[in-house]
Amino acid sequence: MNDEELVFRARNGNMQAFAELIDIHTPTVKRFAFQLGNKYDDIDDITQEVFVRVFRFLDQFSHAKFTTWLYKITLNVTRDFARNKQRQIKKVLKFGKERTYNGKTAEENILRFEEDKTLHDCIQKLDEKYRIPIVLFYFHDKSYDEIADITGISLANVKTRLLRGKDHLKKLLALAEKREGENHG
């Protein structure tokens, strides 16, 4: 059954259909949320909130492709989450990152190679307007049209931002690697 049929059924109260949508799309939502710069420990909360909103607004979803809509909601939830997080950080001082069974942070377990970690960090340093198109284009295989739909910017802007984003990224990466070289003597 494709997304549209599942949405159709879910909208009419079939929770099994909605559960299938959750199963199918959770990995994409989690990956996208992580790539947008969220801490891995927050990903489950964000994913949960994304699907709560999807369910809440299921009836307002009409002609758009379901995945496009899902990406949009994930972007919104991430932005809201970042705002709340900032408020929380002011209140609570956190000591260190949560560690997993092997003593590494969840992020370290995913980004096992130093080169991947450096690139991930550089992407996070990009301005959001460059970061989102780059993430969608390179990691989710989205076309220019789809990126324009998800981000709500024009096709020409998508192309420009991808080009500029790549340039910024190259510079950030060169700088990071230069620093790393200096640190390692």
């Binding site: 059954m1 009419n12 929770m15 959750i22 959770t26 709560v52 809440r56 607004f57 009836d59 990691f139």
Partner: protein
């Protein structure tokens, strides 16, 4: 840094991202949704106090209200006559006014449906379509927050859209059944009415459930059992004095429901699919009739628990046999959807721990059902898949595997492969290995004698390769390669595998495999093509036959050109 290098680095990072572990999130998400809905429903009654009184007014008020609405403004064309400008500015008071009408329309339609179903006197004061009401509220809040983004036309369009949603939601199954026999039957698309009927049947069953119908029978249940009372209701209310209950019985029957009473004294509704099928004849495709009749096989109790795993297994086999007779592609797709969820339930349970006991051992009832299906129906795809699954559990002494909760269900081949493929060209499960293949693997792993592989086809050799990789048995992996390809020596190869090279990703979303043939010689297989559930590009696993033995090409994975 040049573009090429950056792209390569991005590609490497993509692979790392794709390895993010897939943990089970479904139950936590569903619980959060339930909580969210409950909160919203609760709040609803604080700001909609008039709702209950409106329901009480009943049908007459409903009709009057509908007349009022249709005379006033649910028709956008009529509404515009009073406006200074069609695309004029929208004011908050205007939005409030329009949404008040929408809500009144909602309640009038609800009252109409309650009357028809005999639910006017239900004791549970929640709307029949709470989700829709929430959405109307959300839409209103959104419109009020963004007045500058709306003009009159858009507001009217939005209202019309909501009205259509209300009409659709409050369409009873009996009304959909009527459409099958109407003169304008042809104006509906292929399977449009069938799909609508299925949805409305399911929807109104949940309405009965939410309405807590048992509470309507409080007095009667003091005098007789729930089962007897349910039988009376199903016979059209004969012997029941209470008018309200008789109208409930009539409403249910007319819409394709019947009642069941259990020992705990509760009464619940079931969909009478066979009765519905009879009502549709002869104006419906015969596959749809069979589909409905199959749905009448009840395998769950009213709380969604599997009544009998043996019966569930038998039903799976019945589905497999019937599906091959279907000619309508869309109905076939629906029925495959149904049987897939039943199969997943059979091998994984409605939740991951349902088929295991408190010590994480496979329950006897489930084990016996597996054994029965694989021995009585060995020739069926269902029987073959169950056998493979059973053997894997047997090797694990029937203990729940540690990664069981995250395992993908491996479906019988007929559920995943297109039906135009010949049986001998299609292959389903790569892992785990069957007992027979595992024995050959162990023998080959210790002796490296290629003659052991002689009896196996390309699919099976590929399975051995994946198994060797899973086991970290790189020497055996190496021994499966064709030595005619340019490749490193064994020592170099083992060194390269030092950090571990898992093929687990390749199997993510995998559904089935077919033989892949040479472009210039369609009779000569040159590998196996892997097909995935998400329609992602299929991968080719390249192979070659040497002296009658299938070998793996070095670096076997390639995308089709």
């Amino acid at each position: 840094m040049d573009d090429q290098l950056l792209e390569k680095r991005l590609d490497s990072l993509k692979k790392a991202y794709n390895d993010i572990p897939e943990e089970e999130n479904r139950s936590a998400i569903l619980a959060a949704i339930k909580k969210d809905q409950k909160r919203k429903n609760h709040n609803k009654w604080f700001h909609l106090p008039y709702a209950a009184s409106f329901i009480g007014v009943g049908l007459i008020a409903g009709i009057l209200m509908m007349q009022y609405i249709s005379n006033h403004s649910l028709n956008p064309g009529e509404h515009r006559s009073g406006e200074n400008s069609i695309t004029g500015e929208v004011k908050a008071a205007h939005v409030e006014e329009q949404f008040e009408m929408i809500e009144k329309y909602f309640y009038s339609k609800q009252a109409e449906v309650e009357e028809k179903l005999g639910l006017s006197y239900r004791t549970v004061e929640i709307p029949l379509a709470p989700q829709l009401l929430n959405e109307i509220d959300d839409t209103k809040a959104n419109a009020l927050d963004n007045l500058e983004n709306y003009n009159q036309d858009e507001l009217m369009e939005m209202k019309q859209h909501i009205k259509e949603r209300i009409d659709k939601t409050f369409t009873l199954p009996s009304e959909v059944i009527e459409k099958f026999h109407g003169d304008d039957r042809d104006r509906y698309g292929d399977m449009e009415l069938e799909q609508q009927l299925l949805l409305q049947l399911e929807y109104y069953q949940s309405v009965y459930w939410h309405s807590d119908i048992t509470s309507l029978f409080e007095k009667e249940l003091k005098e007789e059992s729930a089962a007897r009372l349910a039988a009376k209701l199903n016979s059209g209310g004969k012997g029941i004095k209470n008018d309200q209950l008789r109208s409930l019985a009539a409403g249910a029957k007319e819409n394709g429901y019947y009642f069941k009473g259990n020992e705990a004294g509760a009464i619940h509704s079931e969909i009478n699919y066979s009765w519905v099928a009879d009502q549709l004849k002869p104006n419906v495709h015969e596959d749809f009739i069979t589909y409905l009749e199959l749905r009448d096989e009840k395998i769950h109790d009213h709380q969604g628990r599997v009544l009998s795993y043996q019966k569930l297994g038998e039903l799976l086999v019945k589905y497999e046999k019937v599906i091959h007779t279907f000619t309508h592609e869309m109905i076939k797709e629906w029925i495959i959807g149904d049987v897939k969820s039943y199969y997943a339930e059979f091998v994984h349970g409605p939740n991951p721990s349902a088929i295991f006991d408190e010590h994480n051992v496979l329950k006897d009832e489930v084990k016996e059902a597996f054994k029965s299906i694989m021995s009585v129906y060995p020739e069926t795809d269902t029987g073959k898949s169950i056998k493979r699954f059973y053997e894997e559990l047997e090797r694990n002494k029937f203990q729940k595997p540690t990664d069981f909760d995250n395992q993908m269900v491996s479906f019988p081949i007929y559920m995943v492969a297109p039906n135009n493929l010949k049986n001998e060209d299609v292959f389903s499960d790569i892992l785990p290995l069957s007992n027979e293949l595992l024995a050959s693997y162990n023998e080959f792993s210790s002796q490296k004698d290629l003659n052991i592989l002689k009896q196996y086809n390309p699919f099976e050799i590929m399975s051995l390769y994946f198994h060797a990789n899973e086991q970290g048995d790189y020497e055996t992996m190496y021994a499966l390669y064709s030595q005619n390809d340019a490749m490193p020596n064994l020592e170099q190869f083992l060194k390269e595998q030092g950090n571990g090279s898992s093929l687990g990703n390749v199997l993510r979303g995998y559904q089935f495999a077919t033989l892949f043939y040479a472009e210039d010689d369609l009779g000569k297989p040159v590998g196996v093509q892997l097909h995935y559930s998400d329609d992602a590009d299929s991968l080719i696993f390249q192979m070659t036959q040497e002296d009658g033995i299938w070998k793996v090409r070095y670096m076997p994975f390639q995308y089709p050109g």
